[in-house]
């Protein structure tokens, strides 16, 4: 399968994400420029973290008008898999592919730290390599990660099991203390109702190699690979020799 990582002016996790997908997960990965109109035949689009357009107006508010995002929107509406990480999550919310919005962290601080998130729903294309209730240790780095949705929408999200990750403590308890940014319901990541679009604030690409202190983030990428490669026959034979890329 082939991943595509979208680059906006101000993206700063694009190469980290690209590196993990290509060199750690060993899958073909393309960089997609926001002004292009071509998704280059990718099976999964990843919107990386960063500060697209300097976070001007609102986080993710300008990026959604990029030419490529119109393609991404159509791709997602047709069932294509889209993963939004941090700023990518904010863009998906602004684009309307995911419900809700982000407001400033409750303590008004830019939070850059490791957090723990619990897998709430292991039956998604983004989590099937994990276990229900599994606690992942993954870093966050954001100013606006305080998830908000009107009460009616929130109820709807919970009813359809769209909450995929919640902030928790080391034992997996959902506590107010673990809810570092003040998100409603400790929400760290949600999917759309159809299940092909996921957004999360933590950065799995920063927790995919033991050298960086945690490999828990690989669960998400491994799940996607599992889901997408099982769904359809590989278009090309798996090339195992494609190992050296550093």
């Amino acid at each position: 399968m082939k991943f595509g990582v979208v680059q906006f002016p101000g993206s700063n996790c694009d190469f980290d994400t690209f590196h993990v997908l290509r060199n750690v997960m060993k899958r073909e990965t393309a960089l997609l420029w926001h002004k292009d109109h071509d998704l280059q035949g990718v099976d999964c689009v990843v919107l990386p973290g960063g500060f697209s357009y300097g976070d001007y107006l609102r986080s993710g508010a300008i990026a959604r008008f990029s030419p490529l995002m119109q393609e991404v929107k159509a791709f997602a509406r047709a069932g294509g898999h889209v993963l939004g990480i941090c700023n990518g999550f904010q863009i998906l919310l602004e684009l309307g592919l995911l419900p809700g919005a982000m407001i400033r962290n409750k303590n008004l601080k830019f939070l850059c730290q490791h957090v723990r998130i619990r897998i709430e729903n292991e039956k998604t294309d983004f989590t099937r390599a994990g276990r229900k209730g599994q606690v992942l240790r993954i870093p966050i780095a954001h100013f606006d990660g305080n998830y908000y949705a009107p009460a009616r929408v929130l109820k709807d999200i919970e009813r359809h099991r769209q909450v995929v990750f919640r902030y928790c403590d080391a034992e997996g308890n959902i506590t107010e203390e673990a809810n570092v940014n003040g998100s409603l319901g400790n929400i760290a990541g949600i999917r759309n109702r159809e299940g092909n679009v996921l957004g999360l604030m933590p950065h799995p690409e920063r927790a995919s190699e033991a050298l960086l202190g945690s490999e828990d983030g690989r669960t998400i990428f491994a799940s996607l690979i599992l889901s997408l490669e099982r769904r359809k026959p590989a278009r090309r034979p798996v090339r195992r020799e494609r190992a050296r890329h550093d």
Binding site: L57, R58, G100, A101, I103, R104, L108, P150, G182
Partner: protein, 82 residues
């Protein structure tokens, strides 16, 4: 024509920045300040638009771009007629 658009959080949405400003004002002794809501102001210069056209155009721009209708509301007025 020049219009001014004010975007602010809906009453139902917590405004942590406004809260912080309020706390600072209280620290300074302004006990009369009961609440603070922070917002954004945009001034748009419109060319060749009539007042009637502005009444359609401005709310459309505010809804689509300037405000996020999930968390924000907006208000606008004409500040220069021509």
């Amino acid at each position: 024509m020049k219009v001014r658009i004010l975007v602010s959080f809906k009453d139902s949405v917590l405004d942590p920045q406004g809260q912080t400003v309020k706390n600072a004002l209280h620290t300074l002794g302004y006990a009369a300040v009961k609440d603070v809501r922070q917002g954004k102001v945009f001034e748009l210069e419109l060319e060749g638009a009539t007042k009637k056209e502005a009444e359609t155009l401005v709310p459309e721009i505010a809804r689509r771009v300037l405000a996020n209708p999930i968390i924000e509301k907006f208000d606008w007025q004409i500040i220069k007629d021509r």
